[in-house]
């Protein structure tokens, strides 16, 4: 029983010291997390930004009659290995579409081969010594340069890295998420409204509640199996289609939306409900006119988080065939399509070194879309919250 001032102050010092230590530790944890984030972003930017530039080369293109049959003949022997095969292959069809080209010879900036691109970016390339010399000479003359790569944003996948783009995957993502939102949002919100505002609190609803919480924790690939078994095999939704993918992701997003909507509804004070009942509202009028407007910011946030999660999902889509080589931009939800993370996954497995930067570039685009979606959600939330 030493309650002298010294004993107490010694104990106080120990307590303060513990607080300081805990503070330092938590700051250290935060710093470490920040460091990882910075490293991650730097790495992505360094590797990915070059993907937004692509080598172009100025060559004489001879739209001769021979070139319409044998497109390789359109350019001279010296530069032929430096020009993208993909570009050359298009020459005959372009000549058919535009007869004015026939028989002319023009100096044009055309897409260079992927190896030229890699060489210009300082990476290892498979160019022969003679071709390297040609590139150096053309570069000195200003006839080879890195230009902004619009093709990356306008075309689909390709086996030639200089032609590959993220557009088909982006369109696939948009279509898939539209299906997901259209299915998961109304069903999820209505389920939550029923459970929170209408359902009696009995064993049945408790069972439903526990199972919904469990669903949120199920490995996502199992949803892929479910989607394959039900949507594709039983219902007959086309394989690899955004419809199949969207429905599968909707299953995965539902518990997230239900749980966040219930939380948002529960956070609306009961006094508001009583006010509504007090003036003679029916239960649905109370929910629609008073509870939902207050819960909307929370519901929107939950929906966006759910969608963002669905957007980054690859595993369930492997099973339903959306991780695939899709060169064409799909026009409807029943066409074969892929999504951005699946495209990144596909590129990540390509042996050609040029695909490394495509992979990182794709990740950057995905991150940009995710961040802008989240920013949109925050803004929407602020706007809805502002008035009350």
């Amino acid at each position: 029983m030493t309650h002298s001032f010294d004993a107490i102050s010694a104990q106080l010092r120990r307590r303060h010291r513990k607080t300081r230590w805990l503070k330092r530790l938590s700051m250290g944890a935060l710093g470490l997390a920040g460091l990882f984030l910075v490293l991650f972003f730097t790495d992505m930017l360094v590797k990915g930004l070059p993907a937004f530039k692509q080598a172009q080369i100025q060559v004489e293109v001879d739209y001769s009659e021979q070139a319409s049959r044998l497109p390789l003949a359109a350019v001279s022997d010296a530069v032929r290995p430096l020009v993208s095969r993909g570009y050359l292959r298009l020459i005959p069809s372009r000549m058919r579409d535009d007869p004015a080209l026939q028989g002319t010879t023009r100096s044009e900036w055309v897409l260079a081969d992927g190896q030229v691109d890699q060489y210009l970016k300082g990476h290892h390339s498979k160019l022969s010594e003679r071709d390297t010399a040609t590139v150096n000479r053309l570069q000195a003359e200003g006839r080879v340069e890195l230009r902004f790569n619009t093709r990356f944003f306008t075309s689909g996948d390709s086996k030639m890295p200089e032609l590959a783009g993220i557009a088909s995957a982006a369109v696939g993502t948009v279509l898939t998420l539209m299906v997901t939102l259209a299915v998961a949002f109304p069903i999820g919100v209505m389920t939550a409204i029923y459970l929170e505002e209408f359902a009696p609190d009995n064993r049945m609803t408790q069972l439903v509640e526990i199972n919904i919480n469990n669903l949120a924790a199920i490995p996502s690939i199992l949803y892929g199996l479910l989607g394959l078994a039900i949507f594709i095999n039983v219902v007959g939704v086309p394989r690899s289609s955004p419809l199949a993918g969207g429905l599968t992701l909707a299953l995965m997003t539902l518990p997230v939306i239900i749980i966040s909507t219930r939380t948002a509804l529960r956070s609306v004070p009961d006094t508001i409900r009583h006010a509504g009942f007090g003036v003679g509202c029916s239960r649905w009028q109370v929910v629609r006119d008073h509870v939902l407007p207050l819960a909307m910011p929370g519901i929107m946030t939950g929906a966006i988080i759910g969608l963002a999660q669905a957007m980054g999902e690859t595993a369930p889509l492997i099973i339903i065939g959306m991780v695939a080589f899709i060169p064409d931009i799909s026009g409807s939800v029943t066409d074969a399509a892929t999504v951005m993370p699946a495209q990144i996954f596909t590129w990540g497995g390509e042996p050609d070194r040029a695909f490394i930067e495509k992979t990182s570039g794709g990740i950057l685009v995905l991150l940009a879309v995710l961040i802008s979606m989240n920013a949109g959600a925050v803004m929407l939330r602020k706007r809805l919250e502002r008035r009350w």
Binding site: P200, H274, A275, G276, G278, V279, R387
Partner: protein
Amino acid sequence: MNAKMSIRMNRHASPTSPSPLSGSAPGEPVSRNADASHELGVRVRDLDLWYGNTQALKSIDLDIYQNNITALIGPSGCGKSTFLRCLNRMNDLIPRVRIQGRVELDGQDVNAAGMDEVALRRRVGMVFQKPNPFPKSIFDNVAYAPRMHDIVSRKADVEALVEGSLRDAGLWEEVKDKLHQPGTSLSGGQQQRLCIARAIAVQPEVILMDEPTSALDPISTATIEDLMDRLKRRYTIITVTHNMQQAARIADYTAFFHLGEMIEYNDTKAMFSTPHTRKAEDYITGRYG
């Protein structure tokens, strides 16, 4: 158990005086307030209420007269708010509540199968302890319910009704230039008057007030008390209050509740000067509360 015993003893102790629980007949006040109206508004007979297995109201008989203020007083947990909520069936919202007995509004049983609780609550408005305006503008707070009940639909009628209700609630002069600001931007006392305007906008017969001033400062309280005094000319007001001075100031009749039983019902003046029951006297003189 103890409480019940003591009431019985009380009853036997003064066999000559009228029943301490009621007047000449069950549910009637012990003595009459000469100034008050005696047109019957709400008649409650033998009302029992259970929350699960706990009985919260025990065999309540009460006659409430129109165009009066009737105050319900009693210590916390005595069932006065529960009783109030029986009158517009707000107890329906609470799970595992069981009600027995009759609550009649104009001779109709409010718990009858044919009575729609939504229609009932249009006739019996309610003002709550904490001001709870809707998350809408001041205008829409008042206009919402009349529009919903199709009392008014034309724009000019709605505006006239909103102005009239806000004037009746003594709020018009303060808010007429900011009708489109949120109801929650007002002060606590103003919000409570907005809630009263909202309740009278549907022209109910009865207004229930559940400790309407307990969250307010003394000045706002005085304003609301004046307002209640004016409103009783047109509405039957039943108010729960913790504040005995308030009951003494504004109520025509006062009912004293204790542990789920209605111990005494009387003219307010008589109740506060010469309570007939020991329990009411002890409560009023502040021996417990």
